[in-house]
Amino acid sequence: MDKKFKVIMSSAIMVLMLASCGGGNKTSGGNNGSSKPNGGETLRYEKANGIFNYSAASVSEKSKILGQLENYAMRHHLAGIPLYDDAGYELFSPRIKLASNDYIPNYGFGVGESSLDPAGKMYNDTVFDSSKSLYPSYFQSYATEDSGTFNYWNSTGADVAGKNGMITASYFGVTMNPNADGYHWRGELARVDNPIPLDKDGNEIPYTEGMTSRFWRVPVWTDKNASQANGRKFEYSVAPGSKWASKYTGRKIVLDDYLTPFKVMLDNGFVRASGLIDDASGFAGASDYLYQSGTTKSWDGEKKSYFDGVGVKKNEKEQSMDFAFITPQTRFYAKYNTASGLYSPMPEDFLVDIGNGNAAAGAKNFGMIGTSTDPKQNCDNLLSCGAYNVISWEQDKQTVYQKNPTYNNASEIKYEGYVETGFKDEDQAFQSFLNGMLDEVSVPSKEVKNYSTDKMAHKTDGSTVIKINVNACTKEQWEHYFGKNGTAYPHTNEKNYWEVKPIMSNPDFLDGLYFCMDRKILADKTGHNPAYGYLSEAYKIDPETDLSFRDTEEGKAVTADYENVKENGIPGYSTSMAQQLFTNAIKKLVADGDYDEDENIKLTFLWRKDEGLQNIGQTLKEFMETPFNAAAKKLGYSMTLTIENKVAGSSYTDAYSKMDQGEFDFAEGAITGNVLNPISFMSVICTNELSQGFTTNWGDDTSKVTANPCEYDNKSWSYDALYTAANGAAICANGEAVPPVYQGSAEHGYVDDKGTTVEVGFETPDIYDDDDNPLVDYEVSYVWFQYANGAANTGYYWPVGLGNTVKFKPANDGHLTFTINKGAVQNYANSCANAAKTDIDTFVFVVGFKCSFTGVEKTVMAQRNIPLEDIGCNNAIYNGK
C-alpha cells in the first residue's frame, strides 16, 4: 500500500467516522450560539425556529439544500448502499433513422421524431417480412405488459402511462432542439410556451426572472380560437371502426373539456388524484373537495359549489385554465406540474356515452379494452387528441396505433403508426428483434457483453440507482416504526416482529459495506454504470438549463469522500478500508455484548427477482462476507458473517412490501421519479407520512434533529423540516417541522365552561413577527360536530356554519378559540342520538383551518373530544330503545 493511498484512506476513514458520530460538526462557535440535538450532542448551528420558505430559492441555493438532504441520507444510511444505475443499450433496426444518435438525458434518442424507411433493412440485414404483418411500414415496437386499459387516471399499471401518452396531449410538451443535442419546452395545448403569473384576484402580472406565485394562467386552444393556430387542429378522433366514430371524430376541443379530467379524478377518488392534492405540486382546495364532496351529490347543485373551491378554473373570457397551487411555484414548475397527459381534455359527453348515460361509470370505463374477439371492435372506449389513434387491440398480443391526422402537431409525426407486439419477457422480444421483426429492443443484461459493441447499439444513460436497501433500525427505532403502535406499519402481533440485528445499526459496519463493493465488477456483470450516490445523473437541479445535480459542486461533494477512496483505480472500493471499518464494528459489537466472539451472524438479503439474484447475488454475498470474516479472523475471533440470499416473493412488489414493513436486513431495490424536481423526490427518504409509503431504508427518525443534522442557512434542521421548507414552507420549532395548528389533544388546547357557552382553544405554534403579529393567517374553512359514545366515534356529522352556534376568534395568546352555544350542542346531540340510534356522551368539535403563510395556503384539520358532562350538558339518550 503506497503512502499516498494510506493518507487518503486514513483521511476518509476519519471523515466517515466523524460524520457517523456527528463529531465532525461538533463545534460551539456558531454565530447563533449552540444548541443540542435529541441525542444531547452539541450542534454547530442553532436549530431552526420560525417560518421558512425556500421554494423560490435560486438554483445554487437549491443545490445546497439538495446536497444537505442527500448527504444526510448517505451518512445516516437512509440512502442504502448505491451499486449501479440502470443505464443500458438499445438496438435499432437499420431502417430507422434516429433523430439523435446520442442519448439525450430524460429525453432519449427522439424515437418519436425519427423516421422509418419502409424499404430499409431490419437487423442482420434482413427484410421485414411483410407477409407476417398488416402494418409493415409502421414502427415495430413491443411490450411485456398489457394492463388492458389506457385509463391513466385510475391505473397503476406500469404500461399505462406510456399507452396513455400515445392518445393524449398536454398543455406543454418537449421537443428536440434543431441541432438534436437537447430538448426544449413549448406550448402544445397551451397558446403560450410558459404559463402567465397572476395575482390572487386573477389579474395577470408581469413575469420577473425567478419569481414564484401560487396563481398561474394557461391560455389554451379551443374551438373559439383554433382558427388562429396556423392550421393546427384541436379536435378529437376515434378509431374508424369505433361505434362513436361519427359522433366524436372531428369534434372540436372546448374549454369545458379541460376541466373534465380534474373533476373525473376528484369525483371518483381515482388513484392519480393524489397528484392533485400533493402539497408540492397540487392545487388549493383539491384535498377538501376530494374528501368532502362524496360521489352521491348532484353536479348541478352542492357538488358544483364545492368544486368552486378547487384551484382549477376555466376562464371563458380568456379561454384559459387558471390554476391556484397549494405552494408557490416558479414558472418552470408551474409549467412542469401542469404538463401531464392526465390533464388532457376530455368531452364529458363521451364519458356519458361509454358509461351508458353515467359519466362516473364512463370515467371508469374509459380506456378499457372491449370484450370482442375482433381486435378492431375493442377500441370503443378510447378517444384521442394525441399523436396516435388505437385502431386494433388484442390484449397481450398486439396493439396498433395509427397516426392521428388531427393531432395538433401532426406534421411532426413521421411514422404512419406503431405496432406494439406483446411478448412474455425481454428475452423473447430480443430474439424477435434478432429475427428482424422489431425496430427497437433493449439489450438484456446477459446479452450486453455480446451486443454492447454492435454497430446498431446505442447506450442509454441511467436514471435509477439500484441499491442495497438497509434496515438500519435499532430495536427501539424498529418498534417506533413497526411495533404495536408503529408510525409506519403497525405489527399488531408481537410474534410477527422482525428480529432486529444489532449489527445493522452499527455505522462502521454499514460504511464498511459501502467500500467492499467492487462496482466495476457489478457494472460489468449487469451492463450498467457504477453509482456512488443516491441520485443519478438524470436528476436535474436546474431543468431549464439541463444541469444535473451530480455535476454541481454540492452534488460532487456528497460522494467525494466515497469516490476518492480507490483500490486498483476503482472508486468507492477498498477492501482494506472495509476491513478496518468492519474491525471497528466487530470490536464495538463484542464490547457492547451484542455478539460473542465466535458468533455466526446471519443476515437476510431479499431480491426482487430471481434474475438479479442469479446475476450478482453470489458476487455481493462474497463482497460482504469475505472482508468481514477476514477482519474477524485478524482480531482472533471466529465470528462469521453469513448472507442469506433469497427472492422476496412471486412478484417484485413483495420485496417492496417487506421493505415497507421493516421485515428485512438487506433488500435489493430502487425508487425513482420526478427527475426534473429532485428536491421534491427526496420525500422518499422521510421516515414518516411525507414519504407516501416509499421509504425503503430505515434508521434514524427524519423528523428529529439528530447528531450530524442537515445544515443550511446557518441553522440546524431535521431532514423533514429542511425538505418541507424547500418544497413550500415549514413552520419550525427547535429544528423540527410542526403543523400550523396542533391537532387538538389535551396538551395542545383547552376547554373552558363559560356558562351558556363553552370556549374551545386550539394551540398554534409560537410564530410571531417582531411586532408580535402572528405570521400565520388562519381562516375557518369548515366546522363539524361529530358525536361519540365513550371513546368511540359512533356518532353523526352535522355541518355547522359559523353563526349563532359557533363564533371564531383568531389567534389569541397562541390559541385559536371558538365560542360554542351549549344549547345548540345539546339540541344537536339529542337529534344525532336518534339519528345514529345510539346514546351520545361526547361531542367532537372538528375544524378545518385554512392556513396561509409565506404564500402557501393549505387546509389543516384539528379536532377536540369534549364529554357533554364536562360542559354541563346532559348525555343524549336514544329514545327509540
Binding site: 394492463s147 388492458g148 388484442e394 424477435s432 429475427n435 415497507d660 407516501q692 372538528v846 387546509t859
Partner: protein, 355 residues
C-alpha cells in the same frame, strides 16, 4: 340411461361446487397484497375490495365502529378525512366473503371483476374473449393426434417385433419422455427462427383473419407441440391393445373360420381394442388443454392457459376462479363423456343399468 346421465350431471355440479368452493376459500386465505404508495391509491384499492365484497368500510354510525376505535389495529386500513371522519377498512371473514361470492354467482351470475389483468372488467368477459383461441387450438390438435396416434399404433401392432414396430416404439418413448417445453423450444429455434417456415409468435387475430395461410402456419408449432404427447399416448395404447386382442382366442377363431387377416383385424380386433382407447381420446383432450398453459406462454397465444398463469402470478383471483371453473367443468364433463362412451363403443356395457 337418461336417469344415469342426469344423476351424473347432478354429481358433476356438486363436484364443481366443492372444487370451486375449496379453491376460493384457500385463495382467500392467502395474504392480501395491498398497494404501498400514496393514500389515494390505497383508498382506491380498499374501495375496490369493498365493491368486490371482500372488505367492509366502517364509518361512524356503522355497527362495529366502536370496536375499531378501541382497537384500530384490528382494521386493515384506517383513514382520517379532513372532515375529521375516521373510516376503517377491514377484511371480512373468509366465510362471509365466500357466501357473498357464491350469492353473486347464483343470484346475478356475477363472477367478479378483474383486479389486475384488466382492472374493472368482468372476469367472465375476459375469459370468454380468450376461450375460443384455446378451444380451437386444442380441437385441431385432437383432430390430428387421434388418427395419427391410432394409425401409428395399428401399424406398429401389425408389424409387431419388426423394424417398423421398433422404430415407432422408440420414437414414442422418446417423445413421451421429452418435456413439452423442450419440444416447443426446439421447434421454435428450428422451424421459426432457423428455417423461418412458421411465425416466431402466434399471429395476431387481425392478421389471421386477413391471411388464412398465416393463420394455418401459426398453428404448426402449437399443434405439433400439443400433438406429440397425444400421438405417442394413442400409439402406445393402441399398439398394446391391438397386440393383445390379436393374440386372443376369439381372433384366432375368426381366422380359422376363414376371415382374412384384414377382415379379422378391422371387424373384430379393432372394434375390441377401441373400448379403452375411445375414452382415452376424451381424457387426452383435457390433458392437452391443461398442457397448453406453458405453450400459450411461450408462443404468445392469448388463450385461457396463459391467462391462468398470468392471473395466478398477478393474484387476480376473480379471473383465476373463472378460469378454474372452466377447467373444472371441462374436466368433469370429459369424465362423464368418457363413461358414456363406453356404452357407445361396446354395446354390452350399460351405464346406470340395474343388475
Amino acid at each position: 340411461m337418461w336417469k344415469y346421465v342426469l344423476k351424473r350431471l347432478g354429481l358433476l355440479l356438486i363436484t364443481t361446487f366443492i372444487i370451486l368452493s375449496l379453491t376460493y376459500i384457500l385463495l382467500q386465505c392467502l395474504p392480501l397484497e395491498a398497494p404501498r404508495g400514496n393514500t389515494t391509491e390505497m383508498i382506491s384499492f380498499y374501495n375496490r375490495q369493498v365493491a368486490l365484497g371482500y372488505f367492509q368500510r366502517v364509518a361512524p354510525g356503522d355497527s362495529g365502529y366502536e370496536a375499531f376505535i378501541a382497537n384500530p389495529e384490528a382494521a386493515d386500513f384506517k383513514m382520517t378525512l379532513t372532515t375529521g371522519e375516521t373510516v376503517f377498512f377491514s377484511s371480512l371473514p373468509v366465510m362471509v366473503r365466500y357466501v357473498r361470492w357464491l350469492g353473486n354467482i347464483v343470484l346475478r351470475w356475477d363472477w367478479g371483476t378483474s383486479t389486475q389483468i384488466s382492472i374493472g372488467q368482468s372476469a367472465i368477459s375476459i375469459i370468454l374473449r380468450r376461450l375460443p383461441v384455446s378451444m380451437k387450438l386444442n380441437i385441431v390438435a385432437m383432430i390430428i393426434s387421434v388418427p395419427a396416434g391410432i394409425g401409428l399404433g395399428i401399424w406398429a401392432a401389425l408389424k409387431k417385433n419388426k423394424m417398423t414396430d421398433h422404430i415407432i416404439s422408440t420414437l414414442v418413448m422418446v417423445f413421451i419422455s421429452v418435456p413439452s417445453f423442450v419440444l416447443i423450444s426446439f421447434m421454435l429455434i428450428w422451424m421459426a427462427y432457423g428455417a423461418k417456415w412458421v411465425p416466431t409468435q402466434w399471429p395476431s387475430a387481425e392478421m389471421a383473419a386477413v391471411d388464412w395461410k398465416i393463420a394455418v402456419r401459426g398453428y404448426v408449432i402449437p399443434v405439433l407441440a400439443l400433438c406429440f404427447g397425444s400421438i405417442c399416448g394413442f400409439a402406445r395404447y393402441t399398439r398394446a391393445e391391438l397386440c393383445e386382442v390379436m393374440s386372443s382366442e376369439f381372433l384366432l377363431l375368426a381366422r380359422t373360420k376363414g376371415l382374412t387377416r384384414a377382415q379379422a383385424v378391422v371387424k373384430h380386433a379393432l372394434r375390441n381394442s377401441m373400448v379403452p382407447i375411445v375414452p382415452m381420446i376424451i381424457g387426452e383432450f383435457v390433458g392437452v388443454l391443461s398442457g397448453s398453459m406453458i405453450l400459450e406462454q411461450l408462443y404468445g397465444i392469448p388463450g385461457i392457459g396463459s391467462l391462468f398463469v398470468t392471473a395466478l402470478n398477478a393474484k387476480d383471483y376473480s379471473v383465476v376462479m373463472v378460469d378454474m371453473a372452466i377447467y373444472t367443468l371441462i374436466g368433469l364433463l370429459a369424465t362423464l363423456v368418457v363413461d358414456l362412451s363406453y356404452g357407445i363403443v361396446d354395446p354390452r356395457i350399460r351405464m346406470g343399468a340395474s343388475k
